[in-house]
Symmetry: C2
Subunit: 176 residues, 2 copies
């Protein structure tokens, strides 16, 4: 399919970054886009019962990297997580070269940047190697000014209110 | 299923309100929620080929009200559109009473409020009649302070950048 693919970023502290990306996937699938969803720092045991299950049924290819994060797992070195993030980057570069997708989501990759597992220049380099036709979507808190400048579309999702503030716990089917 | 359902609002001028709602639906479906998607001011001819098609395949019930809007159709009176919005409200109240859904999306209903087709008190009254277990999601620019106060979760999606600003037209599979 011939089209110009853009770079989209969903950042900010509010609920709606990953769900926006999932919604974009659904819309793209309706027009027969070939979609790949790649996530960082997400425990597959939780997510494979959630949205990943439905995306798989819909024909989306799913890959995860750096599935651990110090927030959830202690005793994991920063170097180890950085290594897994770099494996992710290399994998993405490889599928960029194969150029077989119309849309790729890099869910929470901006957390890798924010928490110092990846450097800004490494993500910029990745963006520079994006196939022209590919719609690329990055999510996560921690978009930098340089990345915002580089992107074509940026939405900042601001938390006005969240039930966590009232000590309401994460709810199955809603938060995960 | 026994759970306390909350009221979520996605508002603001950025891209990501409807797609967030679609993403929420996908997550909810993974846990076998029964989901209903109701939209306002959206031309079905456009959307039935997009995300609505996939949602239908996934078993979501879809209904649309006030499918016209002065922005797209001239020669439609405000009174006529208000009438259609009120039909929507009555329909929603009816399905609230039947209480057969775990999640209901009211996509762009806040536009009905912003553009004067519905009054704030009418939406508040609707929220007050929500079944306790129902997760209710409202989207659209134009959430008022009173509605924000009433909701449990509010995300404001701010436009930092959008390709429309560079005169890039709406793209099939991405914007619709």
């Amino acid at each position: 399919m011939e089209r110009k693919g853009l770079i989209q970023i969903y950042t900010g502290d509010g609920k709606g970054k990953t769900t926006s990306a999932i919604g974009l996937i659904v819309r793209a699938l309706a027009y027969n886009f070939k979609v790949c969803y790649i996530y960082f720092h997400k425990e597959p045991k939780i997510w494979e019962y959630g949205e990943h299950k439905i995306l798989k049924i819909l024909g989306v290819d799913i890959f995860g990297f750096a599935k651990t994060h110090p927030h959830f797992f202690k005793n994991i070195s920063k170097e180890e997580i950085r290594k897994e993030c770099l494996e992710g980057l290399n994998f993405i570069k490889k599928i960029f070269q194969e150029n077989k997708y119309d849309m790729i989501i890099l869910d929470e990759i901006l957390i890798s940047l924010r928490d110092g597992f990846l450097e800004e220049r490494e993500i910029l380099e990745l963006l520079d190697s994006k196939p022209k036709n590919l719609e690329l979507v990055l999510t996560g808190r921690g978009a930098t000014d340089v990345l915002i400048e580089k992107a074509d579309l940026v939405s900042e999702i601001k938390k006005i209110k969240h039930p966590y503030d009232k000590k309401i716990k994460r709810r199955e089917g809603i938060e995960y």
